[in-house]
Subunit: 253 residues, 2 copies
C-alpha cells in the first residue's frame, strides 16, 4: 500500500510512523515547509515535498493531517485522485471530502507531542465512511495500527473531540496551574506526579463520579475558605478554584 502523508505536525508524525511500522510504503511527505517535510521524510525514508503539484496522483491512500482550516485547500489540490482520501480531524465533517470517489475519516483520539514516543496500540482510532467497502478498507488499515477501532459518525466524532478538551486539554491546564502554585512557593512539581498518575489510573477502573475527593465534594467550606485565602495573591487561580468547586458541589448535590 503506497501512502502519501499530507502534513508534518504531531498527528502526521505519529500516524505516518505507525503506518510505516504496520507495513505501508510511505512514498511522500508533503508540508508547506520543505524543512519540516524533510525532517519527517528522512525519518521515514520518504520523499519530502512542499508543492501540491509534486504529489503522486496514483497512491493507494492519502492521509490529510493538516490544521482543520487547511483541509479544504488540500482537498482541492488532490481533486480527481482515485485512491482513498482520509482526514484525521476530530472537529471536521466527513462531507469536506465528498468530491472524492473514495473518502473517509481516520481520527486518533489521543494527545500527541513530537518529542514524546507513544505506542500506537494505545491510540483509539475512529473511522467513518458512507461506503461499506471503503469502511472495510479503512477498518483493515486502522486494525493494522491499533486494536482499538471504533466506527463513529461525524456528529459523534465532534462530541468526542469536545470531550477530549475536558479530559485532556483542561486536565493538562490543571497540571499547569498546580505547577505554577508549587513553583511560586519554592516547592517541587515532582512531589505531585504520583498523585497525578493515581488520579488517572483510578478512572481506568472506576467511574470518575464515584472517586471524587477533595473539599468541594465534602462541602468542607472551612477548607475552601482557607484555600481561597492562600490564593489571595493569585486572583486567576482563585476564580477557577471557585468556579470548579461550585461545579463539583452542583454535580454531587
Amino acid at each position: 500500500m503506497n501512502v502519501v502523508c499530507i502534513g508534518s505536525g504531531n498527528v502526521a508524525t505519529h500516524m505516518a510512523h505507525a503506518l510505516k511500522k504496520s507495513g505501508a510504503n510511505l512514498t511522500q511527505i508533503w508540508s508547506r515547509s520543505l524543512d519540516n517535510a524533510a525532517i519527517l521524510g528522512n525519518e521515514l525514508e520518504a520523499k519530502s515535498i512542499s508543492t501540491f503539484q509534486e504529489i503522486d496522483r496514483s497512491a493507494d491512500l492519502y492521509v490529510i493531517a493538516v490544521k482543520d482550516d487547511a483541509i479544504a485547500e488540500v482537498a482541492v489540490a488532490l481533486k480527481g485522485v482515485e485512491g482513498l482520501v482520509v482526514h484525521t480531524s476530530g472537529a471536521t465533517d466527513i462531507s469536506i471530502l465528498s468530491s472524492f470517489k473514495n473518502y473517509g475519516v481516520l481520527y486518533p483520539l489521543q494527545t500527541f507531542s513530537k518529542k514524546k514516543q507513544l505506542d500506537f496500540a494505545n491510540v483509539p482510532l475512529c473511522i467513518e465512511s458512507l461506503d461499506e467497502s471503503v469502511l472495510d478498507k479503512l477498518r483493515s488499515v486502522a486494525l493494522g495500527l491499533t486494536p482499538m477501532v471504533y466506527e463513529v459518525d461525524s456528529e459523534k466524532r465532534k462530541i468526542l473531540h469536545l470531550a477530549a478538551v475536558f479530559g485532556c486539554n483542561f486536565v493538562n491546564h490543571m497540571y499547569v496551574l498546580s505547577n505554577e502554585l508549587v513553583k511560586h512557593h519554592g516547592l517541587d512539581f515532582e512531589m505531585l506526579k504520583p498523585l497525578i498518575m493515581e488520579t488517572a489510573v483510578k478512572v481506568q477502573t472506576e467511574l470518575p463520579i464515584n472517586v471524587q475527593t477533595g473539599p468541594a465534594v465534602r462541602n468542607d467550606e472551612k477548607t475552601i475558605l482557607k484555600h481561597l485565602e492562600l490564593l489571595d495573591q493569585m486572583p486567576d487561580l482563585a476564580r477557577i478554584y471557585q468556579t470548579l468547586s461550585k461545579s463539583i458541589k452542583k454535580t454531587h448535590s
Copy 2:
C-alpha cells in the same frame, strides 16, 4: 512499635495497612462508629474501639487520621500520652498538637479510595516536627512505608494540599464532565481512557506547560465557537469551557 490508629476512613485505612506491612504492631483502631472500626480492625487483626476511654495510653505511635474538624477533639482525648502523636492532614497546622510531648505530621500527598488498592511506595509522605529527634523518628517510620519522604513545614504543606485540589480533585471533575458529555450522546467513556492515561503519563517527564494541546492554546477561535455551539444545551459545561479556555490563552500569551 505499637500503633493506635484513630480513624477508619480512606487515609486511615491505607495508612494503617501500610504501617502493618512495614512491621508495626497495630493494636487498636478507633472510630466513632464501632462498625467502621470493626471492618478495619478485622482486616488488621487489631482491636476495634469507639470510645476515647478505651484508647491504650502506652502506645508508641498515635496516628490521627480523622476529618480536619475532629483533630482538636481527638487531641484533647489523647492529652498526656507520651508516645509520638501525628496527624495526617494537609490543611491543618502542626500547632494543633503542641500540647503533646512528642508530636508531628505525616501527610500522604495522594488520593485514596477504600476500594482501590494502592502500592504505598507510590505515596509521597510529608513529615514535619519542630524537634530533631522526633523528626528522625518520623523519617524512619515514613521510610518504612515509602522511599518518597519530604520534610515540609505547615505553610508549605498547605500549599501542596491546595495544589492537589488542582492536580487531582479538579482533574477528576474534568473526567466527570467528559463522561457526562459522552454519556449524554450515547458514547462510551471507555474510548477516552487511553487519552486520560497519556495526558498524565506525559507530565511525568515533560513540564505541563510544554505539552499543552487543544484549540485554546492554538487560539483556534473557529473550533472554540463550534464547541460552544455543541454545549448549547449544557450551560454549566459551556461556562467552564469558556473560563478554562480563557485561562489557557492567558497562560500562553
